[in-house]
Amino acid sequence: MENMTLLDFARGPGLQWALWIFCLGVVWRIVGAMYLLGNKDLSKARRTNYIRSGLRAILTRSTPAEAFEEKIRFQHISGYAWHLALFVSVLFFAPHILFFESILGFSWPHLPNTIILFSGAVATALLIALLIRRATHPVQRLISTADDYISIAVVLLPLITGLAAFAHIGLRYETMLALHLLSVELMLIWYPFSKLMHAFMTFPARYQTGTFFGHRGIKA
């Protein structure tokens, strides 16, 4: 289309392509990994209530066992705070809800913008703190890959452009809005190929670990 502005692109073709790639990639990755199928465990089970064991692990891994709590307190709390702040900003900002509603067909109540602004700022600060930790903590520095850093950057961008658009900092509003949308689209495209997939993989991983140990009679 002629005369298409950045915002038009971000709201139209950009969004569509990003969503297509996102859907395609996420399903591809999940199916491609799971369809490798498991080597069946032939040993005699001590406990056969697999579903219970699996669901249990999904729940219990949400908090560390007491024995570990002290050693990983910072990551535990900051990890929770980061995700919570992120979800509050993403899921309870009125314009975002309208966006989701246009796709999902239903909506939910929103929170006042001051809370959104606060949580957005907190999320940004925490992610930067976690980035610093990743770059400086010996273990995390060693095990980090380009994926880890790029993923942080790709998630930081929507946060920063979103906050800037909200606070009317930087470029004109429609440009910031376009950049915000484009950064979200970048994240959607990056998503299936990166560690961001953990959002889809965590519960299955916990579940299978729960069943693995449940088979042996251990509550994992």
């Binding site: 996420v26 591809w28 199916v31 314009p95 975002h96 966006f99 429609e174």
Partner: protein
């Protein structure tokens, strides 16, 4: 007003006192969104101003722009602006008709060569110029002819400025904006559907006062009026900040005058002066009346999704397309896994061997 008179002399001859002139200057400065400190400057310039010739061409338009202007404020200070210009051709307003009218236009063009201001409302069909003609002259030809010797062009309304409704998809007439045809003259876009009348007169007042082109934004609009977006100057902005939104047009929020973002208000991306200059003699503007802004002063606003779709929504395509993508993903996943498993089986076989 005689052609050899300047405006100061003309007003005095009409019995307007210096007080009245100063009042006129204050109102004109306010009209042009100039700071009150500029009144003295305006007064000096206006007193010496010469009466410019204005030729007004109407192409593919609905006459809404002219209506906006003429119905706005019955005799007001702005009307003086019109008294102060020589509107030599305006086929809706002029008394002359037929050949006489066209002759008047040609005469004015000849007489004021290089000095007259060309005002255009409406878009120009280029697919087939015969879609819109005046006196047998196609809009395209008339525009080219009249633009040739003008000082500057004022594109009044979104049609003339950006193509507007005739240019909306699927654009059956191939309508284009003035700026798509004329590229060698200064063009001032006074967009809006219709534009705020005061903004039209404000731009003319600027010519009258300073004889220059006002400062323009990237879309050719005077920054004095189009410099800030509706959202930033909207009196309902505090509701937005607090996250208080009307959900429907008749709910409690709507009654309390809450923000109309959720009802599709395009204020945040719309640059115009409605929120401050307002309409109907300052009585209000659409948002004040309870309806969201539809971005009528922005290019292609007709084609940017529904007026009632919130700004944050996008055109995400169809459910089928997304399901299709997911299906393709599943197929790729299965194919990928089958290939991977054959590698694994090969490794297994090698161990046995």
């Amino acid at each position: 007003m005689r052609k050899d008179q300047n405006l100061g002399e003309y007003l005095r001859s009409q019995g307007v006192s210096r007080r009245g002139f100063l009042k006129f200057c204050s109102a004109t400065a306010s009209l042009m969104a100039l700071p009150p400190s500029a009144v003295a400057q305006v007064a000096e310039a206006l007193a010496a101003a010469r009466r410019p010739s204005v030729i007004w061409l109407s192409f593919q338009e609905c006459t809404g722009c002219t209506e906006s202007l003429t119905r706005s404020h019955s005799p007001t200070v702005e009307s003086l602006i019109f008294d102060a210009i020589s509107l030599d051709y305006h086929h809706t307003l002029q008394a002359a008709a037929g050949h006489g009218a066209e002759a008047a236009r040609e005469a004015a063009q000849e007489e004021n060569k290089g000095e007259y201001i060309l005002v255009v409302d409406g878009s120009i069909p280029v697919d087939n110029p015969a879609y819109s003609t005046i006196a047998g002259i196609s809009n395209l030809d008339m525009l080219k002819d009249s633009a040739k010797d003008c000082f500057a062009i004022v594109s009044v309304g979104t049609c003339a400025a950006f193509g507007g409704l005739p240019g909306a998809a699927p654009n059956p007439t191939g309508a284009v904006a003035v700026s798509d045809i004329i590229t060698d003259k200064p063009i001032i876009n006074v967009s809006g559907c219709p534009p705020i009348p005061v903004v039209i007169t404000g731009v003319l007042a600027h010519f009258l006062t300073f004889g220059t082109i006002p400062e323009l934004d990237a879309l050719g609009r005077p920054t004095a009026f189009f410099g800030q977006n509706i959202h930033d100057r909207c009196y309902r902005r505090p509701f937005y900040e607090r996250g208080e939104f009307a959900e429907t047009f008749d709910d409690e929020g709507a009654r309390k005058g809450w923000c109309l973002y959720k009802l599709g208000c395009k204020g945040p991306i719309t640059y115009n002066a409605c929120a401050t200059v307002k309409w109907n003699q300052g009585m209000g503007f659409p948002i004040q009346a309870g309806h969201g802004c539809i971005a009528c002063s922005e290019p292609r606003f007709w084609d940017k999704g529904g007026f009632y779709d919130a700004l944050s929504t996008g055109d995400w395509g169809t459910r089928e397309a997304l399901l299709g993508a997911a299906g393709a993903g599943a197929a790729l996943g299965v194919a990928s896994a089958i290939r991977a498993r054959s590698r694994k089986k090969k490794a297994m076989a090698e161990e046995e061997a």
